[in-house]
Subunit: 363 residues, 2 copies
């Protein structure tokens, strides 16, 4: 059996050190330790400190753990929005956050862009000014279904224009790449099976004191806020614990991988991602069999590159399969029309070069 190389946008290729950390975790019997033990508290704290340094999280923010990003969407709506929410929707995942709010009957409003397109922040700000009921703003740094990214400057510009609202950034398929200013952004979240290259089963919720204050205010109204409130999660975080048994192994692995990334340097990781993305987009720009799906260069994702195919997908897939390369197919209606190529930290320069080489052989 040959080892495959995964270019899929999540679950994705494991981070190069992940397997060794997993072996170490088994030797240390991490899966058997109590989540009420000092040993677990030390694991949580190490993970928190490493993420804080890696992602430039302020000292008064919490890092909370859930089962998935879907659970985070639910917790955000139930804990931080009372009268309504506002969502920028330009693909399946930003739409899902909107749908969660709709499902919870929390009066969400959405501004939409076509798949493959981004938003003009000035226009967004104009619309937002009319949305009195929206107490929270849901922005997506990287829309995984379309390969569209919102530049950090735009995220910050929008957040700065509505300081009375809470701004949440979905960086599920881009963390640790974006450098967010948590003086403007109130909260961001991701899951570990994407950029951190770990097995799925852990959502990570970075959350600031303004979100906690809002949740405390909503609690006073006596409204149902779900089984685990932000207050519960935060109170436990303060002693590096969790209200329910968490995915201890995943927290351990995340802490270790975040530490490895710190050792590499986040600037180095960012540059590396950008260089690999450039190589991919350069190829797409000159290829005779595929082209970049996202036309506007300014909003092209650095971490999930989407190719629009001019030939049958099967022709490419057959060749990649022989090499053991696994790329993502398109999302929903684009299933057979697109390739989605993850460009996470786990993917090496050589991987990208080899992938492009195979594409060229099909031309």
């Amino acid at each position: 059996m040959t080892t495959k190389t995964y270019f899929t946008p999540g679950p994705a290729q494991l981070y190069p050190t992940a397997q060794a950390h997993l072996q170490q975790a088994l030797e240390l019997q991490i899966p058997s330790i109590s989540h009420r033990s000092r040993q677990f508290q030390a694991i949580y704290q190490q993970c928190f400190e490493a993420l804080k340094a890696l992602l430039h999280i302020p000292a008064d923010f919490a890092v909370l753990f859930t089962g998935s990003a879907t659970e985070i969407w639910e917790r955000i709506i139930l804990n931080c929005s009372e009268r309504g929410s506002f969502h920028l929707v330009n693909g399946a995942f930003s739409e899902k956050f909107y749908e969660v709010a709709a499902q919870l009957k929390h009066n969400p409003i959405k501004q939409e862009a076509a798949l493959g397109e981004g938003f003009d922040p000035a226009e967004v700000i104009e619309v937002l000014r009319l949305c009195d009921t929206a107490e929270i703003v849901g922005l997506t740094h990287n829309e995984t279904s379309a390969g569209v990214s919102m530049p950090e400057a735009h995220l910050h510009q929008i957040a700065a224009a509505c300081p009375e609202k809470l701004t949440f950034v979905d960086m599920v398929s881009s963390a640790p790449y974006p450098r967010l200013d948590y003086g403007l952004i109130d909260s961001a979240y991701f899951s570990v099976q994407k950029g951190f290259g770990l097995p799925a089963g852990l959502g990570v919720w970075i959350v600031g004191p303004r979100c906690l204050a809002k949740a405390q205010q909503i609690a006073q109204s006596g409204k149902p806020m779900g089984a685990l409130t932000l207050m519960d999660l935060w109170k436990n975080f303060e002693k590096f614990q969790t209200p329910a048994t968490p995915n201890v192994l995943a927290i351990y692995l995340l802490g270790k991988v975040a530490e490895d990334m710190l050792r590499q340097g986040i600037d180095h990781i960012r540059q590396d991602i950008e260089q690999k993305a450039k190589a991919l987009y350069d190829y797409l720009g000159s290829s005779s069999i595929m082209q970049p799906f996202v036309r506007n260069e300014a909003v092209r994702s650095q971490t999930v590159v989407v190719a629009d195919l001019d030939i049958a997908q099967s022709k490419i897939m057959e060749r990649l399969q022989r090499k053991g390369f696994v790329v993502g197919t398109g999302y929903k209606e684009y299933k057979e029309k697109h390739l989605r190529i993850a460009n996470f930290p786990a993917t090496t320069w050589a991987d990208i070069e080899n992938l492009i080489k195979e594409f060229k052989k099909v031309e």
Copy 2:
């Protein structure tokens, strides 16, 4: 570093084959596969079939996956109870289900017993007859905090007496031990870090068609039912998928361990648990330093044995520590007064004999 033996009631000792399956999963690159792939569907199906055979689940039931048992409590209340719920509470974990319902403002009613005590099913049935608003009944097969179990016959007797209500059984810290009659019980659930001896991070929800029908009925009223409804989960289950990215690795491991348990035979596993429990309770009955916390033999847990200490806990802990034996401390106010000893399938006869030998040395 010496290898420890965990007698803790969850997270617990890994099942003997867990580590080899984890190695195999890494070789097969299971953490990187797509949760929309046929390979994942086959993993889900294998896990479902193995659990169905092991736990005697009827063909028209679904097995759904969540991040934790806490999430299952939330999903049960939001999806299956409209006017109210009824809970038997005799410890911290049965209380938590009640609290989730209270938190969600779903009008829960509880009947309580003191810690260490069980319930008389005839009395429960009498009370239940008066609870018109309760549409669901929450029963706990094994109350982990106190080491009290409700015999299967009592669970079935209560369920049979209120066929108009839906009966849910918490077997978090006893599965796969109890043999439930799903002709009477509508749903049961557990998490994998207890009896199945796997890393934490997966809740397993066994759920029957009457629960689905109830959820469909509630949906028609337009009431908020959370981010993931039972309909979403069930519809995805029918094609062996999940609405959000699940803990793929944990599902793979659970399927493999369930298969190993089937090979051993569930009757053999049950007998083995009962013999080990008998050895522990026999010792407690004759010991000069501890005694069984649960006085009524009929409701003593077979999977979590709680000892009430007559000497300082530290004296015992010091000796166990030297041997690398880790037992659970008591729950909350009993933290230093109790030992909680998990007697899951992963614990061998030799482990139990050696543990008792150490206890005897302290006498």
